[in-house]
């Protein structure tokens, strides 16, 4: 039963979340490779989301059923990104060509 968790544990999780938020801002401020920045930031955001779900939403102390239900959208979202992949290429092609034409017309 998810009850009577130590309030110290909640405060510990709060300090982890605070530290990760500060770390995220430190990582986000300088200019460098967007890919590296995205991987670092998404990794930290998933860590924070995991802490909220596991401890504040008590998922760590629940039955397996709820864990399986909560995990499902994560898996589907990964599929979603793969399903979007063909569109990503098409959109990049379409938007860069007129941009080039527009800059060519200016000169």
């Amino acid at each position: 039963m998810a009850e009577h968790h130590s309030e110290d544990l909640y405060m510990k999780i709060f300090y982890y979340l605070l530290a990760l938020t500060i770390l995220e801002i430190i990582v986000a401020l300088p200019t460098y490779s967007t890919l590296v920045k995205a991987i670092l930031l998404i990794g930290m955001a998933l860590g924070k989301a995991g802490l909220v779900a596991m401890y504040f939403m008590h998922l760590r102390f629940e039955r397996l059923t709820l864990g399986m239900i909560a995990f499902t959208p994560l898996v589907i979202c990964v599929f979603l990104v793969f399903m979007l992949t063909p569109d990503l290429g098409a959109v990049a092609h379409k938007t860069t060509v007129p941009a080039k034409a527009a800059t060519g017309a200016k000169h």
């Binding site: 039963m1 998810a2 009850e3 009577h4 968790h5 309030e7 909640y10 405060m11 709060f14 979340l17 605070l18 938020t21 995220e24 801002i25 986000a28 401020l29 967007t34 920045k37 995205a38 930031l41 998404i42 930290m44 955001a45 924070k48 989301a49 909220v52 779900a53 504040f56 939403m57 008590h58 039955r63 397996l64 059923t65 709820l66 239900i69 909560a70 499902t72 959208p73 589907i76 979202c77 979603l80 990104v81 979007l84 569109d87 990503l88 098409a90 959109v91 990049a92 379409k94 938007t95 860069t96 941009a99």
Partner: protein, 207 residues
């Protein structure tokens, strides 16, 4: 007779299955949140796809600024802590602490919404960020920004109303150390709103 006995046995077996939740209300909220997570997942994946395909996407942290929203992120995290403290209070039967912490959680949500209203007002009327056009680059930058943060803001609004109902019912003495399930279920919704903002803050503001 034997058939009926078999049916009864089957029923008893399914009831005692480890997959049976301890609270149907909690299961219902989780199922709703999973659907809602897919809504946000789709919005964020769509945002990523549009941004990846755009040649002139502005740098979000230069246009939007991150300090106000970093503060809003902390505010939601703190309000989540107040929520768990409110739940812990009612679990030990402390009505006064329960009211105080749920009240603080609601206040956190209201201040968050006020910050968002201030931010939207500044962006729309002072910095020219429109729904369909803006001076910074790709027109969909504004569209995706307003749809994603607006959808989240509606969730915060819903959460504030939901928690107000919990607080008002709590003030009539509806909840106690033996009956706190509705508070826990409302808490799930509130933490989910916090969790989603963590993702929105990362995708829309930081990257």
């Amino acid at each position: 007779m034997s058939e009926a006995a078999a049916m009864h046995a089957g029923h008893a077996e399914s009831y005692e299955s480890p997959l049976t939740p301890e609270s149907w209300g909690k299961l219902g909220m989780w199922v709703f949140l999973v659907g809602d997570a897919m809504s946000f997942g789709t919005l964020l994946a769509g945002y990523g796809g549009i941004r990846y395909g755009s040649a002139d996407w502005p740098k979000p942290y230069e246009v939007l600024g991150i300090w106000l929203t970093a503060g809003m992120t902390l505010l939601l995290i703190v309000s989540s802590v107040w929520m768990v403290k409110g739940l812990a209070a009612i679990q030990r039967g402390d009505q006064a602490a329960f009211r105080k912490f749920i009240g603080l959680t609601i206040l956190g949500g209201v201040v968050f919404l006020a910050c968002q209203a201030y931010e939207w007002n500044k962006l729309i009327f002072h910095e020219g960020l429109g729904f369909t056009s803006n001076p910074y680059g790709a027109s969909l930058f504004g569209t995706t920004f307003f749809i994603i943060t607006g959808f989240h803001g509606m969730h915060v609004t819903g959460g504030v109303i939901y928690l107000l109902c919990i607080l008002l019912r709590g003030m009539t003495g509806a909840y106690s150390a033996n009956n706190y399930n509705p508070v826990e279920i409302a808490g799930l919704y509130w933490h989910f709103v916090d969790l989603v903002w963590i993702m929105v803050f990362t995708f829309v503001y930081l990257i």
